[in-house]
């Protein structure tokens, strides 16, 4: 900017002032988090009277945060689930050119996770109400995406249908869902679903949460996919029609592959929203990462350190969200470079 050198001394001093303030805040945070903090023995008395953070609490509760109430002897299974999730992220991070094998690998890995957690008849069975912690959060994200993305694609196609009734039904669904808070939908589903099923049928609490978050986010996924569909130019439809291709063939082989690929960044962004939405499952009684944190804060022996737990939880969510949005940006650049 050409203005730079004309600034008065006050203008030039401003960054330094703000920098100093930031430094001060940084020192306070560091003193709390590092210098005055208690890392030491896993004993509530060690933290008494301290002015810094009590990380001993987090250390003692780490299993609760990561795995919830999963049987202690079987902890390798949720650990493996978390490791698989990391592997999946790494795959999506690296592979930006070959989509088909990537999708196949994703399906296999994602399907392996719930089987691993439940035992699948081979390992000792663990019911879903013992699943928890970060492992449950991972499963919720994958489950909600598995429900939401196909439903979202159908809704987006429905909104482009030439049949007016189908089009307005899809639009009505998307607009209604987007007007309501997820909390209200989760509460409504947990009351409504048992009533909608014949007597004696029950739907697992975890499945309810997955369906609730998935169907809610289907409306947002639909918007992401619709954005991708709009990028496919009408000339391509015309060219396909000129080649004598049928409408569904055009959709399957020409339009959708391009549209979906281009909507991957938006889909990833919506998935960051799903990640944040999973925190709401505590409200219907699941013990996910946030639920584990709530349980840790409620421990009477350790009364008085809510901030430590929530800082750790927020850090975990922020880290995953940042990785996801970088990943989305990777795909954005490649799809830009391709055409």
């Amino acid at each position: 900017m050409p203005e730079r050198k004309r600034g008065s001394w006050a203008k030039r001093a401003a960054p330094w002032t703000i920098g100093l303030i930031a430094l001060g805040v940084g020192v306070i945070v560091l003193r709390w988090a590092v210098f005055d903090a208690t890392f030491g023995p896993l004993d509530p008395r060690a933290c008494e009277g301290g002015t810094g953070a009590c990380w001993a609490l987090v250390r003692e509760k780490s299993s609760l945060l990561l795995f919830g109430l999963y049987p202690p002897g079987e902890l390798w299974r949720p650990t493996a689930v978390i490791a698989l999730a990391a592997l999946l992220t790494a795959l999506w991070w690296r592979t930006v050119s070959r989509v088909r094998p990537l999708l196949a690998a994703t399906f296999v890995i994602a399907a392996a996770m719930p089987l691993l957690m439940s035992g699948a008849g081979v390992l000792s069975p663990v019911s879903t109400d013992r699943w928890g912690g970060l492992a449950l959060t991972v499963l919720l994200i994958l489950g909600a995406a598995a429900v939401g993305i196909p439903a979202g694609i159908l809704l987006a196609l429905g909104r482009q249908s030439t049949l007016p009734i189908v089009r307005s039904a899809a639009s009505a669904y998307v607009e209604t869902v987007r007007a309501l808070p997820l909390v209200a939908i989760l509460i409504a589903i947990s009351f409504l679903l048992p009533l909608l099923l014949p007597n004696g049928w029950t739907v697992d609490k975890l499945l309810r949460a997955v369906l609730g978050i998935g169907l809610f986010n289907a409306a947002y996924y639909a918007e992401a996919v619709r954005g991708g569909l709009l990028t496919v130019s009408l000339e391509q439809y015309r060219a396909a029609a000129a080649l004598g291709m049928s409408r569904s063939l055009t959709l399957r082989t020409v339009v959708l592959p391009q549209a979906l690929r281009r909507s991957i960044p938006a889909i990833v962004n919506t998935t960051v929203g799903v990640l944040k939405d999973t925190s709401l499952v505590v409200l219907i009684g699941l013990v996910d990462l946030v639920g584990g944190g709530r349980a840790a804060v409620a421990d009477l022996r350790w009364r008085g350190h809510p901030l430590e737990i929530y800082v750790v939880l927020a850090t975990a969510f922020v880290a995953i969200a940042i990785v996801f949005s970088r990943l989305g940006r990777n795909w954005e650049f490649t799809s830009e470079g391709r055409h």
């Binding site: 203005e3 049949l163 309501l180 808070p181 954005g227 990028t231 880290a319």
Partner: protein
Amino acid sequence: MTAVAETSPELAARPSKRVRSGRRARTAVRELDALWPTSARRAFVSQALFVAVLVVVVSLATGTLLTNLARLGIRHDPGLLSQPAGFDIGETPIAYTQSDSYGRALLVGLVNTVRAAVASIFVATTLGVAWGIWRLSRDRLMRRMSGGLVDIVRGAPVLIIMFAIYGVLAQLPGPRGASPDRLGILWTSRGVYLPEIADVPPWSAAMLSASVAVLVILAWRRLPRFWMLAALLASLSLLLCGATGVSLSVPRRVGFQVEGGYALSAEFFAVVAAVGVSASAFMAELVRGAVEGVSLGQTEAALSLGLRRWQVLRLIVAPQAFRVLLPPATSLYLDIVKGTALGVAVGYADLVSVGATILGQTSQVLVIVSLFAAAYLALNLSIVFGLRLLAPYLSRHA
């Protein structure tokens, strides 16, 4: 292009995008129809099929719903809303007792939702605009710092921020052991008490409102020397207030209670702080995108015409940026309204929380869920139309 635009705020902020994509979608539908014409009979058959499937699914679900309701002894009750509620509500901005009706209880919840939403929108807008200006700083370090903070706040779920604030407030001493801080604010486990202006004498009140009215008219007519007049009127009103005596009501503790001041319950504070701060990070990015969307050439042209930097911002950049900002800011405000429903988690008595209590007592799912839908739809529409009415005045040159 559009897929990319979804992810980067500066592109997503284009004002005509929604209009353009809507038109584009309609042309696409028409084009598809022209390329692969659907015969009227076929269109009728497939739509009839679609409707038939919907009807079958809905009637099956309704059938099981009705049998289940009958089995559980829950009858659909049209008079539900006039029955006595019989439960207490933590925060009642309008008069309410246990013997009031369910309808009254839901109204209390709705008022609480509106209170939290208005306060959160205020926090998000003021903090977000300031943050956005910080994002636009010409200093790279400043930009990095503000951007990093945006990433952190946007990544953290609102619920965790809310739990953290509420948890920290709960650790504070109760009203009995609390003492006000330097600004006179009393922080207790029960809530936050702010000093408030009390007992404004009628003369000062009249003078204050008159000067506000004059200022609004002046701003409207865009008279010169606006700021001088504003300062003059402000100091006159202050003088008058000082002369006639305005008392400040500072919160102080009396026994186990707090007297005086303006009380914000811990729940309300946690909801507004969490939703407001979280939304302000999104607002900051919207503001940055909108301002950066105004082309640099315009700034340079205005500067070369001899306008001051402040004038350029006020006369050239702000009105244009505002027009770009309005559509995404509207949808952010809608998100804020929906976000206040998270208050359920800390026991804030908003619409969803009161509705859930009634659901637990009566299981009248359909009534309550349709009330939720109607209430949020009404709130959303009033925001959309309110902003649309306001827009022409706000985007005028300040």
